[in-house]
C-alpha cells in the first residue's frame, strides 16, 4: 500500500518587500515533484539547503498548502482532509525548538497526547513507555529549559510517537547533535521501521541516509533528480571507483589545473584547514593515480588511495553536475 502518494507537487512562496513600494517576489521551492512511499518503508530525502525538502515535509504534514499538485497521506488528501491526515501522522523537526520550555518533559508529552485525543489512561501508560524508550524517564519531571540539546531532541522523538502514528516525518532529526546522541536517535529510527512504521526522513548526513534508508530521493532546486535504493544510486553513475588524494597546502591554480586535466572524471575537493581531500571518480583508477601524481608535483601529498565510491560521492556528483 502506498502510504504517501505525491503527484506533481508544486509550492511557490510569495514574499513582499518594502513598505511603500511593495515588491512581490515568487520563489519556486518545490517544482512538480512526484513520488510514492510504501508501507513500512524508511524513505529518505537528500538535497542541498533550499532544495525543497523541508517544504515537502511541511506540505505533507498539513502545515502548508501546495500551490499545485496533489498529495495523499494514508489515502487522505492533505489539502481537503487534513484532519484525517493529522490523526495518523506526526512530525519531528531537528533542533531544540518546538517544546514548551517552562514545562517538564512529562507535561510536554501529556499535553501533546491530549491534543492528539489519546485516551487519558492510554496516554499515561504511553508517556511512561516513551520516556523510557528515549531514556528520559529519570528526568521526566525536570523543566525542558534545563535539558541538553540531545535530551531535547530525544524528547522530540517521544513527542513524535505520542499518537502512535502510522507515518512519521523527520526533518534532519540528528542536526547539531554530538555523535553519541545522533547514534541514539538513529537507533530509534531503525527500531521504528521494525515496528511497522513508515518513516519519511530528510538529512544532510549521507552516511546516515546510506545506513538507514530503504530508498532515497535526491532533490535539487525543487526537483527530484534521482530516486532509488542506496545501492542502485551508487550504480547510477556507472561502475566507477574513487581516487582519494590528501594534500597539504595545495595552491588554487593547481586545483584548477587538476580539474581541467581530468575533465572526463568527476573531481570534488574538500578543504579542512590547510589540508585538502580531492576525490576523483573514474573508471580507470590506475591511470588517474599516475596522472595525479604527475600533476601534483611540488605539492605535499599526504596520502593517495583508491576506494569504492560512497553515497556521498554519488550525491556530490548528482548535485554538482550540470550546474545549470
Amino acid at each position: 500500500m502506498n502510504v504517501v502518494q505525491v503527484q506533481e507537487l508544486t509550492r511557490i512562496y510569495t514574499t513582499t518587500q518594502g513598505f511603500l513600494k511593495q515588491k512581490k517576489r515568487d520563489i519556486l521551492a518545490v517544482d512538480g515533484v512526484s513520488f510514492e512511499v510504501n508501507q513500512g518503508e524508511l524513505f529518505g530525502m537528500l538535497g542541498p539547503n533550499g532544495a525543497g525538502k523541508t517544504t515537502t515535509i511541511k506540505i505533507l504534514t498539513t502545515l502548508l498548502l501546495p500551490t499545485a499538485g496533489r498529495a495523499l497521506v494514508m489515502g487522505h488528501d492533505i489539502s481537503r482532509e487534513s484532519q484525517a491526515v493529522r490523526r495518523q501522522i506526526n512530525v519531528i523537526y531537528g533542533g531544540e525548538r518546538g517544546l514548551y520550555r517552562r514545562l517538564t518533559g512529562q507535561q510536554n508529552l501529556l499535553y501533546t497526547a491530549d491534543l492528539y485525543g489519546v485516551e487519558p489512561p492510554i496516554a499515561q501508560k504511553r508517556v511512561a513507555e516513551l520516556l523510557e524508550l528515549v531514556g528520559l524517564d529519570k528526568r521526566a519531571d525536570e523543566r525542558v529549559e534545563n535539558y541538553s540539546r540531545g535530551m531535547a531532541q530525544r524528547l522530540h522523538i517521544a513527542r513524535g510517537l505520542i499518537n502512535d502514528p502510522s507515518v512519521i516525518f523527520m526533518d534532519e532529526p540528528t542536526i547539531g547533535l554530538d555523535p553519541e546522541a545522533a547514534h541514539f536517535i538513529r537507533q530509534r529510527i531503525k527500531w521504528l521501521t521494525g515496528q511497522g512504521k513508515t518513516v519519511f526522513l530528510t538529512t544532510h548526513d549521507l552516511w546516515e541516509a546510506d545506513q538507514l534508508c530503504d530508498r532515497i530521493a535526491i532533490l535539487k532546486k525543487g526537483k527530484i533528480i534521482a530516486l532509488d535504493t542506496p545501492r542502485e544510486l551508487r550504480r547510477l553513475v556507472g561502475d566507477v571507483q574513487v581516487v582519494e588524494v590528501e594534500t597539504f597546502g595545495m595552491p588554487e591554480e593547481k586545483r584548477a589545473g587538476l580539474e581541467a586535466a581530468l575533465k572526463t572524471s568527476f573531481v570534488s575537493v574538500a578543504t579542512y584547514g590547510p589540508k585538502q581531500t580531492i576525490a576523483i571518480q573514474t573508471q580507470n583508477p590506475n591511470e588517474v593515480t599516475a596522472q595525479v601524481q604527475q600533476l601534483l608535483k611540488g605539492v605535499k601529498v599526504l596520502n593517495i588511495r583508491v576506494r569504492e565510491q560512497s553515497l556521498e560521492d554519488v550525491y556530490l556528483r548528482l548535485v554538482q553536475e550540470d550546474k545549470s
Binding site: 525548538r97 518546538g98 499518537n163
Partner: protein, 262 residues
C-alpha cells in the same frame, strides 16, 4: 466533541502549569489595571460606599480580567511562536479554537486577582462593605462576565496567530474596553457618538447586570434579565465570528507560511 473537550481541558491544565512555572506572571499582567483602579480609588473618595463598591471594586475586577485575558492570550501565542511549538500544535488534529478557549478562560479568571486586591484595600483601609442582595443573580452575572471576556480573547486568537506584533496592539485594545464597557463609570457619561461602541461589547451588558444584581429580587427584574440576555446574545455572535475567522486564518496561514516566522 469529546476530543474538543479533551483539548479544552488540556489547554486549561497547561495554562495553569505555565502560571505555576512563573508565579510573578499574573502580577505583571494585571499591574496596569491595578494602578488604574488605584487612581479610581482616589477619584471616588467622596462617593457613597455602594457606588464605590459597584464601580471601583467591580470595575477593577473587570479591568483585571480583561488585561489578563488579552495580555495572557497574546503572550501565550508569542511564546508559542518564539519556542516554535505553534508549528507542532498546528498540525495536530486539535482545534486551535478549543486550545485558545481553554487558555483565555484561565487567563480571564486569573484577572480576578485585581478584584481581590482592590476589594482587600477597600475593606481594610476604607471600610467599604458590599452586600449582595441576590447572590444567585450576582454569581450568574459574574460568570457571564468571565465568559464574555474569555470569548473576546478567543475572538482575538486568530488575530494573534496572524500578527507578529500583537504586543503593540495590546495597550490600545485593553484601553478600548476600559473606556467603552463602562467598567468604572456608567456608559451614560460617554458622548452619544461614542456609545455605539459600548453597545456591541458584551461586557457592557454583563457588568450592568452585576450592578443590578446587588438589588433585591434581581432574578425577577426584567432589566436584569434583559442585560443577561444581551450578554449571551453578543457572546454567541462573538463565538460564531471567532469560529469563522479561525477557519479563514488557518487557511491563510497554510498559504502564507507565516506561522514559523518569529
Amino acid at each position: 466533541m469529546k476530543h474538543h473537550l479533551q483539548v479544552f481541558r488540556a489547554a486549561v491544565r497547561m495554562t495553569i502549569w505555565d502560571y505555576l512555572a512563573q508565579p510573578m506572571w499574573p502580577f505583571w499582567l494585571t499591574i496596569t489595571p491595578f494602578a488604574f483602579a488605584l487612581v479610581a480609588v482616589f477619584l471616588y473618595r467622596d462617593a457613597p460606599p455602594k457606588t464605590f463598591a459597584l464601580y471601583v471594586v467591580l470595575g477593577s475586577g473587570a479591568m483585571g480580567m480583561w488585561a489578563s485575558a488579552l495580555g495572557g492570550c497574546s503572550f501565550s501565542m508569542m511564546q508559542e511562536r518564539r519556542w516554535g511549538t505553534i508549528v507542532y500544535t498546528f498540525t495536530t488534529p486539535a482545534s486551535q479554537l478549543w486550545i485558545a478557549a481553554g487558555r483565555s478562560l484561565v487567563h480571564a479568571v486569573i484577572g480576578l486577582m485585581t478584584l481581590a486586591e482592590i476589594a482587600l484595600i477597600s475593606v481594610l483601609f476604607l471600610g467599604i462593605q458590599l452586600t449582595i442582595a441576590s447572590p444567585v443573580a450576582f454569581l450568574l452575572a459574574v460568570l457571564l462576565t468571565i465568559l464574555a471576556f474569555a470569548v473576546i480573547g478567543l475572538f482575538l486568537n486568530s488575530f494573534f496567530m496572524l500578527t507578529r506584533s500583537a504586543s503593540d496592539w495590546q495597550n490600545a485594545l485593553s484601553r478600548f474596553l476600559y473606556v467603552f464597557c463602562g467598567v468604572m463609570y456608567p456608559i451614560s457619561v460617554l458622548p452619544d457618538w461614542l456609545r455605539p461602541f459600548s453597545y456591541v461589547l458584551a461586557p457592557t451588558w454583563s457588568l450592568k447586570a452585576i450592578r443590578l444584581s446587588v438589588e433585591p429580587g434581581a432574578l425577577g427584574n426584567s432589566d436584569y434579565l434583559m442585560n443577561i440576555g444581551l450578554t449571551l446574545l453578543l457572546t454567541m455572535v462573538y463565538l460564531l465570528l471567532a469560529w469563522y475567522l479561525q477557519g479563514v486564518t488557518e487557511h491563510k496561514l497554510r498559504i502564507s507560511a507565516e506561522l514559523e516566522r518569529i
